[in-house]
């Protein structure tokens, strides 16, 4: 499971996306109606962007579905590509320890069941 962004990172993402939309508007890649629609969509989506992978996936979506291709998007993509790579490097190094060991678990379960059956 991908690590979650902390509150500070989520706030930063919100700020990044807002800047991106304004930038796209300035560069005539969005008209006013579409900007309004996109802003609403972003606000609704923010609640569901919990990980760096989520954020990166959303940025990709903004390019493929909303045709945004500004320099700002490029900068943000780089930023979140780096974040994801860092996260994955950490996860990879920690993964063996994060997988529960079957034998240990069975002991815990057996103990619990025995205790409950007393």
């Amino acid at each position: 499971m991908d690590p979650l962004m902390d509150e500070k990172q989520k706030e930063q993402l919100k700020f990044d996306l807002a800047e991106l939309v304004v930038d796209a508007l300035k560069n005539n890649q969005l008209d006013l109606d579409t900007t309004h629609e996109l802003s609403e969509y972003i606000l609704d989506t923010l609640d569901f962007l919990d990980t760096h992978v989520d954020a990166l996936e959303f940025l990709v979506e903004l390019h493929t579905d909303w045709n945004i291709s500004t320099e700002k998007l490029s900068v943000l993509l780089k930023k979140y590509v780096n974040n994801v790579q860092m996260v994955y490097a950490q996860v990879h190094s920690e993964e063996p320890a994060s997988v529960p060991q079957v034998e240990d678990k069975l002991d815990v379960i057996k103990n619990k069941l025995a205790y409950r059956a007393q």
Partner: protein, 582 residues
């Protein structure tokens, strides 16, 4: 006696204050004042109004006292003539509403004779009176215990039924029996007729010769009888208002308490019965209201092509509810719904307070219904078929993933129900897009009800407590959504084994634990993989967790055959930079 019990006191309360110049009082202010007072003080009428529901007994009562309304007209201390609402004569009692005050006598007839109709038309007053009664009973130790847990609405129901009990009506009828039949007008008319007969008889008496003693004596008796009858009619006419007042006027609380003291057993039975009935009715009503919850996220539109009215899911409302749901869970979802329709769903809130367990069941059902709707893609925005924007599938996908990532095991139950309730092709397509096809397939093939487990062990799967127990025992409470399929299998296997263990009374604790452990061992292998011993050592076969983790890595990092998310992003960066003007 309270201050409301006499016509005089009522009059004191409602006449226009003498120290205020009428010209300075705005008409609407006066009207408001009068209405407030009238609504507060019309308690005597309530006794009759409450009692005039159209039951056979009451219809008979109504027939007998068809003219009681006329009697009410003369309750005023000075037998006052009709007055105007805007300028009431001091001492005049107005039992009327604004629009009907000018002819208040006929209005009172309408009130009394209207029975059910008048009662229903006066719902706020009815509620006020019942609330007053509820307050009285809530202050009595025995009854406050009996009524505890009931909402205010339910308590009102209890007492509304109580007022319709035959015991109470008999009491009322007994009081009314002391009232002579007829109205002031009819009694006056009859008195005048008697007066005419008396005058005639007196003239005839004088005309009879003194020598005809027998005839004179007989006529004298007739005159005396007529005189007595006249006095009776006049007395009945004059005392009718007072008798009616005595029979009907009285603060309802005191009248009820008196009635209770006389009929304590019957009253207790009535209230107990009605309390139970009210609880049942409230519960049924709450269930019904819960059924209406699904309408909150739907709205009616006219199909522009067919012109047919149809209900569609309002994606914006749905999204807001999903947001509340993902942030604050079941309670958040329900609260968000209640906020949208607080008036209609007040009963539901009451129900939550009075029956938390039942409420929780309904929450699960509602969540399932909600998610079932949420899983349906928006028309024209099917995932995987068209570019999706706005409130379409990708947002759903994110939301569903988040919901399924929840660490609350209850969510698995909710999702189970949601998926089981949704069998249309669009949803199946969405589920496939989300990678849930195995889950959907499994759930369709193996409904919860078909799991061959003893009832008591089904609780492990159908209650939050049971799921928490199992989930914590298996160490999977924080399971990722795409683990669900193997987890469900594992839970089934573990539950079956536990059931077997517990189901055999003679099985020792150790054997039971071993039995359960064996099954959990299998479940664990499914989740975490197995180690196979071969002549040259051992080989680890990945389990579901490792497989799904690998699949996620592939999605992000990519494989030689399929570029991952990182590569897609890098491709876009390259495209943008290439296309950028230098």
């Amino acid at each position: 006696m309270t201050e409301f019990n006499t016509a005089e006191n009522i009059a004191k309360l409602i006449v226009r204050p003498r120290d205020i110049d009428p010209t300075t009082i705005a008409r609407d202010r006066l009207v408001t004042h009068m209405e407030e007072v009238l609504y507060k003080q019309r308690t005597p009428l309530e006794a009759l109004k409450l009692a005039t529901h159209p039951t056979p007994d009451l219809q008979a009562l109504e027939t007998k006292y068809r003219t009681v309304g006329d009697a009410f007209k003369v309750i005023t201390p000075h037998m006052g003539a009709p007055t105007t609402y805007e300028d009431p004569t001091p001492g005049t009692v107005l039992f009327a509403k604004k629009q009907q005050a000018e002819v208040w006598g006929s209005y009172l007839t309408q009130v009394v004779m209207g029975g059910q109709r008048a009662f229903d038309a006066d719902a706020p007053l009815k509620t006020q009176v019942l609330d007053s009664i509820v307050t009285t009973f809530d202050g009595l130790p025995y009854y406050s215990d009996m009524l505890s847990g009931l909402s205010q609405a339910a308590k009102r129901q209890v007492f509304e039924k109580f007022f319709n009990s035959s015991q109470y009506l008999d009491k009322l009828k007994a009081k009314l029996a002391a009232v002579p039949p007829g109205s002031v007008q009819s009694l006056d008319h009859e008195a005048k007729a008697v007066q005419v007969a008396l005058t005639k008889a007196q003239a005839e008496l004088i005309a009879i010769p003194a020598a005809d003693a027998a005839a004179k004596a007989a006529k004298q008796i007739e005159v005396n009888d007529l005189d007595t009858e006249l006095n009776n009619k006049l007395s009945a006419r004059d005392t009718l208002p007072g008798r009616v007042s005595n029979a009907l006027i009285g603060a309802p609380r005191e009248a009820i308490l008196e009635f209770i003291s006389d009929n304590i057993d019957g009253v207790n039975t009535t209230i107990t019965t009605e309390t139970t009935a009210a609880l049942t009715a409230i519960e049924a009503g709450a269930r019904s209201d819960m059924g209406k919850l699904s309408t909150i996220w739907r709205r009616e539109i006219v199909n522009p092509e067919s012109g047919v009215r149809e209900k569609i899911v309002d994606q914006k409302i749905m999204t807001k509810l999903v947001r509340a749901y993902t942030k604050r869970g079941s309670d958040g979802l329900l609260e968000a719904m209640l906020d949208r329709s607080s008036a209609d769903l007040q009963r539901l809130a009451d129900f939550k307070a009075s029956s938390p367990d039942e409420y929780q069941k309904l929450v699960v059902e509602t969540e399932a219904l909600f998610l079932a709707d949420y899983l349906r893609p928006v028309a024209g925005q099917h995932v995987g078929t068209e570019m999706v924007k706005g409130y379409g599938g990708k947002l759903k996908k994110r939301a569903i993933r988040k919901i399924m990532n929840s660490t609350d095991p209850l969510k698995t139950q909710v999702l189970y129900m949601a998926v089981n309730n949704v069998r249309n092709p669009q949803t199946a397509m969405l589920a496939q897009e989300l990678g849930m096809e195995d889950m959907v397939d499994y759930m369709k093939k193996t409904p919860l009800s078909k799991l061959k487990l003893p009832d008591k062990f089904k609780k492990l799967f159908t209650t939050k407590k049971g799921l928490v127990l199992l989930a914590s025992a298996l160490g999977i409470a924080g399971g990722v959504w795409y683990w669900w399929y193997p987890i469900t299998h594992a839970l089934s296997a573990a539950g079956g084994a536990i059931a077997t263990g517990y189901g055999t009374a003679s099985t020792s604790v150790g054997a039971m634990a071993t039995s359960a452990g064996t099954s959990i061992d299998a479940a664990g292998k499914t989740l975490f993989g197995t180690t196979t011993t071969i002549p040259f050592g051992s080989v680890h076969t990945p389990g579901a967790i490792e497989n799904t983790a690998a699949a996620t890595r592939d999605y992000v990092l990519g494989t030689p055959a399929n570029p991952g998310l990182l590569q897609k992003a890098q491709g876009i960066i390259s495209t943008i930079q290439t296309g950028r003007p230098h």
